[in-house]
């Protein structure tokens, strides 16, 4: 099994290497040629895996009727210096949903004394168990593991909610019956982002659509993974895999891998069972969130390659890794390609006619397939543009995460901000530099048209197309980031300029 998995993982790189062998111009630039081809092959393999996954998604359906189950549930709400008002409302929502089926626990790792006092008093007066740690070993996963150990054998299931994700009243009625199947180790419901005025918030919401409506549906009853909140675990299964993984920033996915490795399955219940959730509203919060998820994805590579996952499940997971590579470091490579070409560094030897005849049909088909896939959802053209623009905004953060992983650096991550933080324009400075380079390359490309041979015209045309493509989404990303800033941040920006 492992050989098959390793072969699949290495295929994009091996394919890119073979193509590089036939297309490199000099040994000095071969590495860049290889990286560019890897970005293409990674994209292709990611498309293939998504295609396979989403084929299943189109047949996804949930039962109409379920037999009401009786399990004893521990409802965990995790918090770390969060706004107490948000935490209190979530606690009450969980309590209302849980009813007499179990107990609500607040796992509060807060360090601010006023928050600790306020939340512990609230818990005391509302019949909620307050659980506080002074040292944050293992962060959120550590808090959950410690609390589960303290529970003993009293509970069958544990439900985990972030402080800003509130379950609906019928959450447990709907989720619990799936545990009647002993193969099911956990049930995941989609996270919910409420409608936001901020374009970043809207984009983050649209970005979730293909993932939650198609990818996760396609992974239902096989490899649907925990999203960290809105997950209900079978405690015995968690104990069997040694509890939640603590040595990664995305403990949810790493734990899911361990569970799937044991042969358990997971159920994805795509129903609106979370009724409140705040998306990141400004660019630095958004980049912090995406970088953390990306780092988790990269940290997973070793675990996946050493795992005993069956091929289909491995393919599902590795597709996620390909995604982060594609969105992060390889976006940088793709942007750099037309710039280097326009400035006279010819690193690739390929007839533009071959490129056009091979790549254009694939490109058009992948766009059409994406459109076909998202029909019937609220995604649309606006969703597509905001989604792509945000990916161009996050790529520097994701690339930084990639290098943090390569260099084995422990990146101290903040909690994803639930509001606006000051000076969120700082991450955009890199984007402005790249935009300037893209504009310069486009101007250079236009100047090169004069006196170019027909074949050179094709090459210039292709590179102009890609430079414009990157420019459009990057400038849209910068625009929505600025439009999502607060007035205070905008005045700071005008002061700087």
């Amino acid at each position: 099994m492992k050989v098959l998995n390793l072969t699949f993982f290495s295929l994009p790189f091996v394919t890119a290497f073979i193509i590089t062998y036939f297309t490199y111009t000099s040994l000095w630039t071969a590495w860049f040629d290889f990286l560019l081809w890897t970005s293409v092959t990674l994209g292709f393999f990611q498309f293939i895996t998504t295609f396979i996954q989403t084929k299943g998604a189109l047949n996804y359906s949930l039962p109409y009727a379920i037999k009401v189950s009786k399990f004893k549930v521990a409802g965990f709400v995790t918090a770390y210096n969060e706004n107490p008002e948000i935490v209190k409302k979530t606690l009450l929502s969980v309590k209302a949903a849980l009813g007499n089926r179990g107990t609500v626990f607040l796992l509060d790792d807060s360090t601010k004394p006023e928050i600790i006092r306020e939340l512990s008093e609230f818990c005391k007066s509302n019949g909620i168990v307050y659980f506080h740690r002074t040292e944050r070993r293992g962060f959120k996963a550590g808090a959950i593991n410690d609390a589960i150990k303290a529970l003993g054998d009293e509970y069958d299931l544990v439900a985990i909610f972030d402080a800003d994700q509130r379950p609906t009243k019928n959450f447990f009625d709907i989720v619990m019956p799936f545990f009647e199947d002993p193969r099911v180790a956990f049930v995941q419901v989609p996270q919910y982002y409420e409608k936001s005025k901020s374009l970043i918030g809207q984009g983050a919401r649209y970005q979730q659509e293909p993932f939650l409506r198609r990818i996760m549906r396609g992974r239902d009853l096989r490899s649907a993974f925990s999203l960290g909140s809105g997950t209900v675990y079978r405690i015995s299964a968690l104990k069997e895999v040694g509890m939640l993984e603590e040595n990664t920033v995305t403990e949810d996915v790493a734990t899911s891998v361990k569970i799937h490795e044991k042969g358990y399955i997971s159920k994805y219940v795509d129903l609106p069972l979370i009724w409140y959730g705040a998306p990141p509203a400004e660019v630095s919060a958004y980049i912090t969130q995406q970088s953390r998820w990306a780092l988790g994805g990269f940290q997973l590579i070793g675990t996946l390659l050493n795992s005993d996952l069956d091929f289909r499940t491995f393919m599902d997971y590795i597709s996620g890794v390909f995604y982060w590579l594609e969105v992060g470091p390889f976006t940088l490579v793709q942007i750099a390609a037309p710039i280097t070409f326009m400035f006279g560094i010819y690193f690739l030897k390929l007839s533009p006619m071959i490129y056009v005849s091979a790549y254009v049909p694939y490109f058009v088909f992948s766009l059409y397939y994406f459109y076909y896939l998202m029909r019937g959802t609220e995604y649309g053209l606006k969703g597509f543009i905001l989604h792509q623009a945000l990916e161009y905004i996050e790529f520097i953060g994701v690339t930084a995460s990639f290098f943090a992983w390569v260099l084995k650096r422990k990146v101290p991550f903040k909690v994803t901000a639930k509001g606006r933080s000051a000076r969120s324009m700082r991450p955009l400075s890199y984007h402005v530099i790249i935009l300037t380079l893209l504009v310069a390359s486009m101007v250079k490309g236009i100047l090169l048209i004069r006196g170019a041979s027909p074949l050179q015209l094709w090459s210039i045309g292709i590179n102009l197309f890609w430079a414009s493509w990157h420019y459009f989404f990057l400038i849209t990303g910068v625009y929505i980031s600025i439009a999502s800033m607060s007035e205070e941040e905008k005045s700071y920006l005008s002061f700087l300029s």
């Binding site: 949930l62 009243k169 019928n170 009625d173 709907i174």
Partner: protein, 305 residues
């Protein structure tokens, strides 16, 4: 007798009345003679409102205590006969309150006494009707399906309890909402995925497909020889009125094909305009028309040969 929701409302109402009373008393202290005359009626009636709310709460608490008394041997039939022998108490009370309403000094008190008199009369009427009504419920066990219909808030559960007692079958209840009261250990919950498809059902084919799939899924969870209750049936069918018959026809027929012996009960609420599950009448043996919220007044009619 009263739901926890009503209990909460009563406590809230009592609090609101007390707040109103305090405010009126503040004005009473500072106003002149004419103002006091005006306020006295309002203060008196607000006090009565508050006391009524208090009384509802206390009556419920008292009833809870009474329920703890051990059960006796007197049958329902004998109980009704015994009560009938003492029905003059109700009649006397009715006449007494009627007289009080005529002599009452304010419209509010007049209305209150009239209402109590009417209620005493209802008690007498119910007593005369109780045995007939109970026997008509027993009639239901001769068929294999029935529809219980009434306005929202009717005590459908009381009728269901009686039917279960007569049929001596295990009850499986299909609930359309998780917050409906529990009367069976075997509950089947309809989840939002069903309602999404129900709302998308536009034609006969969609309705039949929806009903068939629902019946198949429910069949997997139900035992032969049991009683299956759809609570509330009208929330299950597509909103297009012309699809209701086809929907229930497919659902009931699929269930019949899957089980040799299954008693099907549809609980349905009537709308404000009086419409309800009329289109389902041809598919069931009996219709129970619940006319009173306490489930003591109902009419059973046989609707299919």
């Amino acid at each position: 007798m009263i739901s926890s929701k009503l209990k909460e409302s009563v406590i809230r109402a009592e609090y609101i009345e007390q707040v109103a009373l305090n405010s009126l008393l503040e004005f009473y202290r500072i106003t002149n003679r004419e103002g006091r005359d005006y306020l006295e009626v309002e203060i008196f009636e607000t006090m009565i409102h508050r006391e009524i709310m208090k009384a509802i709460r206390r009556a419920e608490e008292e009833l809870e205590e009474i329920r703890k008394l051990p059960e006796g041997n007197l049958s329902f039939r004998d109980l009704i006969e015994s009560l009938k022998a003492r029905s003059d108490i109700e009649k006397t009370a009715e006449i007494f309150y009627q007289e009080q309403s005529l002599a009452a000094p304010t419209p509010f008190l007049r209305g209150l006494f009239e209402l109590i008199a009417q209620n005493e009369k209802l008690h007498s009427d119910t007593l005369n009707y109780a045995l007939t009504a109970r026997n008509s419920i027993a009639e239901l066990s001769k068929g294999s399906s029935c529809l219980i219909e009434g306005s929202p808030g009717s005590n459908f559960l009381r009728i269901l309890e009686l039917i279960t007692k007569d049929l001596k079958r295990k009850m499986f209840m299909v609930k359309t909402r998780e917050d409906l009261p529990s009367v069976s250990d075997n509950e089947i919950l309809i989840i939002p995925s069903y309602f999404i498809d129900r709302d998308n059902a536009k034609n006969r084919r969609d309705a039949v497909a929806l009903a068939t799939r629902l019946a198949v899924e429910v069949s997997e969870k139900v035992e032969d020889g049991s009683m299956l209750v759809f609570y509330y049936a009208n929330e299950l069918c597509p909103s297009h009125e012309e699809l209701v018959y086809d929907f229930w026809d497919s659902l009931i027929n699929t269930l019949r094909r899957n089980f040799k012996d299954l008693y099907v009960v549809l609980v349905c609420t009537t709308m404000l305009d009086g419409s309800g599950c009329v289109r389902v009448y041809p598919l069931v043996d009996y219709v129970v028309d619940v006319q009173d919220v306490y489930g003591l007044m109902y009419k059973v009619k046989k609707v299919s040969p």
